[in-house]
């Protein structure tokens, strides 16, 4: 009966068709910081457009989680808004990885409120601001409303950065304070802050620039992110295996990608909200990555 034979064929047809669609090249797995995520999305797409014949994927799970995935072998490249701790480095080396850091950009952490409060805070006030229960606790002239805190989660490099800078590495005051909502996804933080006039939060500068109309920036010691002398600036890293550790084919695409990113940034194509790294850092990174390529510098 020809009709009976037809049906199974019709069902398998889409499978056969889409068989050829997925690319068979190598997989490039990039994981880590949500601060770097907007830049990585742009650059990864450019990388694919520029002729990468494999599959790229990006996980936005926080710098800490990115390092963990590097250690257990799942990730080829880690994007991080903080550097690797000694303990993480030791675990990586114990697992056979040889992480090498490249600075690709600079970020200024933007301190934002939901619109109910604006103004300037001093560096000294930061600990009290971030743990205040009500806005008026910090400044009597500010409204007497509870502070709704939207902070990056414990895996986030931004979280680690602020805890180190403001609380000297002790994360208990910030975690114990009232009304904290945590998320490793900065988009969620932005959404929370812009919907609540009494909200307070912090994240990478690019998230502020993308959502400028609905967020209110709080200046620190009189300067804004991007200005020289802004206290909350930090480098953004890409971590990848050194060539001697890259035993398999996987090492090549990862280092190629890092080289691509460095060249991309050197060409002056940083996405909005990302700042230029200090002079010399990019060229130093480029030298290191090109030297390690089998053919030497192109």
């Amino acid at each position: 009966m020809s009709r009976r034979r037809l049906v199974p064929i019709l069902l398998i047809l889409p499978a056969l068709i889409s068989c050829g669609v997925g690319s068979r090249g190598p997989n490039l797995v990039v994981s880590g910081s949500s601060t770097l995520a907007p830049m990585m999305e742009v650059v990864l797409n450019e990388y694919v457009d520029a002729g990468f014949d494999g599959r790229v994927s990006l996980d936005t799970i926080g710098s800490g989680a990115g390092f963990r995935r590097f250690i257990n072998g799942e990730s080829d490249v880690v994007t991080a808004s903080r550097s690797m701790t000694d303990q993480e480095r030791r675990s990586a080396e114990a697992a056979g990885r040889r992480p090498e850091a490249f600075i690709v950009a600079q970020d200024a952490v933007a301190l934002c409120s939901g619109g109910g409060v604006s103004g300037d805070v001093t560096r000294r006030e930061l600990p009290s601001l971030l743990t205040a229960e009500r806005w008026s606790d910090l400044r009597p002239l500010w409204p007497d409303h509870p502070v709704a805190k939207y902070y990056p989660g414990v895996d986030s490099g931004t979280f680690d950065f602020m805890v180190d800078l403001v609380f000297g590495g002790d994360d208990r005051p910030i975690l114990d304070s009232a009304g904290v909502q945590l998320s490793e996804d900065d988009h969620v933080l932005v959404q929370g802050i812009r919907g609540d006039p009494w909200a307070l939060g912090f994240f990478g500068f690019s998230y502020y620039t993308e959502n400028r109309e609905s967020l209110t920036l709080l200046t620190v010691d009189g300067s804004s992110p991007g200005e020289a002398g802004y206290a909350l600036t930090r480098p953004l890293f890409l971590y990848v295996d050194r060539p001697e550790a890259a035993a398999s084919q996987e090492g090549e695409p990862a280092r190629d990608f890092v080289a691509f990113v460095l060249e991309y940034v050197s060409d002056g194509r940083l996405p909005p909200g990302f700042l230029e790294p200090p002079p010399g850092v990019l060229s130093d990174g480029l030298v290191r990555i090109r030297d390690s390529r089998p053919g030497g510098s192109p």
Binding site: V21, G54, R55, D59, E74, V190
Partner: protein
Amino acid sequence: MAAYRRRIQARRRQDRLFRIAVRIASLIPVLLLLVMILTLVVRSMAADLGSEARRALHLTGLATAAAGSFWVIASGLAVSAPIALVAALWMAHPTRLSRKDPLLVGVFRTLVRQAVRIPNVVYGVFALALFLRLNALAPALGIRNLGNASILLGIIMLPNLVLMMEQELKDVPDGIDEASFALGASWVAVMVRQVLPAAAGAMGAGILRIAARMIGLASPFIVLGAPSFVSAPPAGFGDRFISLPVQIYQWAVRPESAYRGMAAFTSLVLLLCILLLDVAADTWKRRVVRRREGLR
């Protein structure tokens, strides 16, 4: 007399009011459904598909996610449908076979009935525990790839498939297996060569219905670990992938209206897929039933 009439009128009024109240209350779900679809349609407009750059980016994302969904469901079915079929054949057989094993029957039935109701997130947590442990033993297996996700989805579908298949096998008209027995066939021959083919059509429809439910499943994959984007559909079981509902979830939490618009648009696409699958399943099932009526 007048008091009596007044009482009757009061009761009639209560009846009418009650009827209206129930009517209104019953319309609310339909109304909400309409509001939901409308919201999605309106918000889809903001998807900014007009601009060339955005369109390429977002539609690629949609296509990649759709392919991912297809592959994970197909592989999941490939894993669990055979197992479910064999188990259902065992359970559904009308003669002594399963009665020889009352313990297994009891355990099996209870397990399957409870397993259907376990929340999907919990399956995700279970799978994460399993794959983390397995990966420690054999790193080549990976944790968050298409293969493992298919196994996860397969296990989620397994109880549903078993129940559906058992029901369809039982629904086959008795005349078929009775006639086969009358001709001296062994029960294996009966089940495999008569009852199963007779139930195959209905089972196919059932599989489509289960697939329709599974397309929308996102939480187990998110718990297992889903990327925020992938550039190409999966080509092998070690590849990372993303499915439609997970992609919607990733886009929906972004504050920019273009992404929310994409989330709304993709939701409509997802709903359309589900509707198509459901309609296909329904039509197929109806055709099977009609053909069976003809046999009587």
